[in-house]
Symmetry: none
Subunit: 202 residues, 4 copies
DNA sequence: TATGAATGAGATTTCATTCAT
DNA sequence: AATGAATGAAATCTCATTCAT
């Protein structure tokens, strides 16, 4: 992990996740992150441009792994239906596996500057593009309603999953998240499905 | 508007929306809000406990009006389908009418403390309850699939709408928002609908 | 009581003593005193020039009564020894009777501006003059050592009593104060007494 | 001087004494002290927890030196009488040598919170203990009247010296302070002395 | 590379006092 | 005389970032 060099880079990223999850965004000073990472304050600035950069890099790193992982899994799937299911299930199960990360991405990271949010959105684009490609494929194969705007579909899919995760985080991870994939998938499939060219009379 | 006392209370709330929309939450000093409202800095503290309280009250006020307005409109509707449509359309059109407010609720408000977010969630409950009641009614009338968990449905509905609005805000309100109600509604209805007891035998 | 007019004047003074004793000098806002006195904030300024003036007047009022009372008692005494005893005993017993007032004069009032302390000293002069007159009388009557500077004697007398009272206040009035008069008096008398023109042999 | 680290710590303490003496406690902003010390405002907080802590530390430092110095001098003395004289004389002469410090300890320090005053009292205990030990020794050696309560004696001694110093400060250091040690000592000795087992018959 | 002491800008909130009613 | 809503100046402390070592 870590396209930039060195074990310290990764250490700092991981320290940031932990510190932010534990203390909340607004109480996560650079010095605290440095301490947790076992480096001097100044060292942070050898690896990151500024505090914002830690956050964005954090998101980039984690999101990169996340997207790559899901992409790999989706390759195995054959039907569009399965692909969507895998996406939803992976999204939920990946975050369920790492409470700290979930807390940071769903709640804490959103407390940052608008400018960070725009950059985070930039990073998200890889993932949103993945969703788009599934939708487009579904449309082309006649599985999904071609009349629904792809962007709208994607917003619904992402917005739904995101809201489900956020609710889970705000309820303190008190229930199992991944199992919700099934009914969420069922719902979204039904909504997305192309109108039944039913009664196709022969 | 304004269940608490006086014209100054409302003036400050409105000034806060404007200032926060223009400058972003983190650059919206109390003194700036006071100036915009045409009152002294200290006057703010006669009406609000602290800066946080301005934010929460702002949300309470605006959300209260918002929910009441939608509730009223929904009463007129007869079918569940219409009720859901009205909710979605109102949600979108209300926020489309007030760019500043949309900016504040979709982006700026979420930059605040977790503690504020929980209070905001508290306020949101009225609205989420409204969604729940539509879902329940739909289930009872056999319109919606009784197998889908109400909470899940609500998260999908709210999450979808919210994501659509946020995208619109982040795209700088560059397209019309309300018209999206139609396809969003269509999608959600399809997803929610009870399985067709098809093949109705003659 | 109250050389200035009106019951409100007295009410405010008494409220100030109570509020300061209860909340400490730095947490005794004018508005709190006004509330305790049952008047509006603005009313305070009809009777007192400013907050400082409340404090000084408070001290004047209470000190005036205090000094007059002691002066009266001392008139009854015949010997210098008795006069000093009465002064010490009255000083201690008067303050013991009013814990709030003791707290205010010994601790809280000293937290104020230097300028107030100078004015308080001005007010104290009446009392210090009383001590001086006892000393002078004692010297003239050959009771006290004429070689000791009167001002020094007065400082010792006042400083001793004051320190004893302050210690009692800081120890939360946990022991009886007035009984200490005896040994304090004994000590001071011994120190003040003129050198024994002992055994002057005939 | 300075049990805590470094030259900056001492610089800040000394700057605080000067600034407070010149401007009074309530007009001694942290930034003023920082400027006088030649450091940045923030640097203050690397050495002191908060503004209060500067005051307490200041008193601790100066008082520590003061007490150690007096203790050392007293060791040289043989008689109790001399010890008391040295204590009084050192107390007066030490403060006379540093007008700023005297102003701060006698007047400004007492304007602070009650909480500070309690901490100041804590620091004073070392000095008061020293007085106590002289008294106890005097009692044991039959020099001082064993019937007088040690605490009372100590309050008289400390209260007298303190009052003498405070008067000198409030009179703007317009006369020499140390010379007063003699008559103060004479007075206190007389008051403390054990009753003369006079008339020793031949 | 790494350190960590030092920097200094910046904002919330309090509260004595005023003055229109 | 009395009110109390409104004023607005003023100061502590935090923390991201730098730079000499």
């Amino acid at each position: 992990m870590g396209k930039k060099r060195g074990q310290k880079y990764d250490k700092i990223i991981d320290a940031a996740v932990k510190v932010i999850a534990e203390n909340g965004y607004h109480h996560s000073q650079v010095s605290k992150i440095a301490k947790e990472a076992g480096v001097a304050d100044g060292t942070i600035y050898l690896y990151f441009k500024n505090k914002e950069d830690i956050l964005i890099s954090l998101f980039e790193e984690k999101m990169g792994v996340f997207v790559d992982y899901i992409k790999g899994k989706i390759l195995d799937a054959t039907s569009i239906e399965d692909k969507l299911y895998i996406l939803i299930h992976m999204h939920l199960s990946q975050l369920e596996k790492d409470h700290d990360l979930a807390l940071v991405t769903q709640l804490e990271l959103r407390q940052s500057n608008i400018s960070i949010r725009f950059k985070v959105n930039e990073v998200l684009k890889g993932y949103l593009g993945l969703i788009d490609s599934i939708i487009e494929e579904g449309k082309q194969e006649g599985e999904f309603d071609p009349d629904i705007d792809t962007r709208m579909m994607r917003q619904v899919i992402f917005g739904s999953i995101d809201e489900v995760v956020t609710n889970w985080v705000m309820k303190d991870h008190r229930y199992d998240l991944a199992p919700l994939a099934e009914s969420l998938h069922k719902f979204l499939m039904k909504g997305l499905k192309a109108p039944q060219r039913m009664e196709e009379p022969r």
